[in-house]
Subunit: 219 residues, 4 copies
DNA sequence: GATGAATGAGAATTCATTCAT
DNA sequence: CATGAATGAATTCTCATTCAT
């Protein structure tokens, strides 16, 4: 089944050459559709992102899409999942040269990586808001919904870990992580909708300011 | 020009009795439509809020609506404007019995009033997100957009004033107001989309926590 | 509301000239659509009878149809209802010159009228089979279903009355009416599907034969 | 020519061992598909019986089906053919313990067997109506159509024989057989569509009543 | 023989908006 | 002012069938 490409690496373990080739092809085509979907979504936004348009850009007839996805929402879910993967990578790689540095520096690096990812990729935020709207977005199976939730949480783990590392108790670390997340989200909203201009403020500067205050609270 | 009734008070300044009567009638009918729109929007959400449904509830035919609004978005804008009025009222009345209290208490009361308004009225948040998405939402004239922006800012003024009152410089007060706003928005997003459950946190508690830390920074 | 034209005669009782004109126009347009639907249904059968095709033949866009009918099934229901009206008329008028005749002659005249109606109008049979398929055809409200059932029954009443007139007890008359109905339906099926050719028989002759035997049983 | 497997016994007469094996295999696979089709058809009805679903249940890909049938209708034809076989079997076996009984009892037993078969297997009736609709159903070759007609006729032969046995002339026996067939079909229609409820009658009781009257006419 | 990707036509609805009346 | 009929474009999704592999 082409439709469940998630862990194809394992599935391919003992595949025949032919099956392997087909799976690979399939994934390439799935990726093609996802690329088209992303481009549509980013250019035309939610409203313009119709199956027709996605199919057209992918060079497919509308019906063909259903060989790779069960419905429109699943495409978005796949897009979001992939976006969260990139986010996770961004946060995981935040330490970079600073890997040897002290915990406070690492905390800041990771939080900033999170912030910068969404600051630099506004469309990824839209994606998240679209699908994270409501407890269980229509069209998504509970499994898919759960998976996306898990991915989101995994993304924030490196920040939480560092807070614990800095001496916070588990409970406090979770609360603080949530607060950091919320603060970032709020600022990013203001930033991307340009409402922040009303206050003549800069989102990134404000987020750094928040981290400054945080650093003072956690010695 | 029945369609731009916003500042009708000024327009009416030198109106003839007949024109005045008509304008008044017009506004009453506009209000009727807005009532219908609000009820639709609150009951069925954005998706279900079709012009037809609004017209039906207002006792009008679909076409008649266009005598009062240029398009569907304008109705939403009017709804949002009215929502912002209610928000402003909520914040302005926050002092309540505490009016005689010290500045820190007032700051907290006002910030909490803002937070609570959106916590208790999720639909008002939806409205805001729908129209505040993007620099100049489709279907809205720059004037209308500006007006909504102004209303939003006016809403936060009481908080900013109190920060100045507490000794912050104008610039710092604006920054802090923005930060409070952002933090509230971020938490409210997590709250209404129920994502906050992932972290097993409570939005209001976290917001109060934020205000606690703020109070320590501003003695 | 144009959509419930059923008892428009009563509704029009005290209508203003304008309302009257509009109602009349409306019914004419409804009739236009029904004509188109009938022609589609009769030419292309069930499968080809799409809303699109009906709209095209009626000179309407697909969406316009929905001003007159709530869905596709309702059109068919209206078609069937109208067909049953014609059937009823045929049976009611069966006595004709024979009105003065003896009961046995009248019974035969009525039964034959029923039979002939469906023999001469095969499409009306298709219509009936389509909508009378299953206890409550999808898309039909219970009310509509009930109405059609009632119409069907009313159609057979003149036959039943005559059987009572001939001395049958109520219960026997109902059973016999049902049997006559079933026999007619069975023969008509064989006739219209041309299966009767296999037996080199003539449907009408067989039905008359059935009535002959019946006459002998009921002296 | 795998696709016209109907009289494979003759075709195999002088087949090479290899061809024989292949033909046998083929028929087994055809049967597999038919089993799947039957299960789909009985579970989901005509509407839900898509080629895809049939293929899935048969463990085939959609395309593979076309190696065994030229189109969807042909599958239904095969299903109907098989249904008629079962019907024939039911009628042929009707005599049962009554085989030694008098002709009137046998006539009744056979007619009732016919009736009961369709009363107990509504889906077999649907199948028949689907394909016996119109002189030469779409998608069916004249040959196939002829074959199904023959099968249907063969089914009624035991009844006709018994009528002759009871003294009816050939012509009368055919007419009476047709009438019995029609009466059964009409009642079964009323029964399966539940219309018979309108008259508060029982289909089987009415059919027995018909046979009672018939018995009196044929001493 | 079998696959399954792809087509292309088609399905019923919905809706904001326009405009003659 | 108000009507409501009409448009026309759009929506997602389904399916029998074909065909390169």
């Amino acid at each position: 089944m082409a439709k469940s490409s998630q862990d194809s690496s394992k599935e391919n373990a003992h595949a025949t050459p032919r099956a392997l080739r087909e799976t690979t092809l399939n994934e390439a085509r799935r990726a093609l559709i996802l690329d088209a979907a992303r481009s549509v979504f980013f250019e035309l936004g939610l409203e313009g992102a119709s199956l027709r348009e996605i199919a057209k850009r992918a060079g497919y007839s509308p019906g063909a899409i259903y060989n790779y996805f069960n419905n429109r929402e699943e495409i978005y879910a796949a897009l979001l999942s992939e976006s969260l993967e990139r986010l996770k990578e961004a946060v995981d790689n935040a330490d970079g040269d600073a890997a040897e540095q002290a915990a406070p520096a690492l905390l800041r690096a990771r939080a900033m990586a999170f912030f910068r990812f969404y600051q630099d990729n506004p469309q990824d935020m839209d994606l998240g808001f679209y699908l994270f709207n409501g407890a269980q977005p229509r069209g998504l199976t509970p499994q898919l919904n759960q998976q996306l939730n898990d991915q989101l949480q995994a993304t924030l783990l490196p920040i939480q870990e560092m807070l614990i590392n800095l001496g916070l108790k588990e409970a406090d670390a979770v609360a603080e992580t949530t607060a950091i997340f919320a603060h970032a989200v709020g600022l990013l909203m203001l930033h991307h909708t340009k409402r922040i201009r009303l206050f003549k403020q800069d989102a990134q500067a404000l987020f750094e300011r928040y981290l400054d205050f945080l650093a003072r609270r956690i010695p």
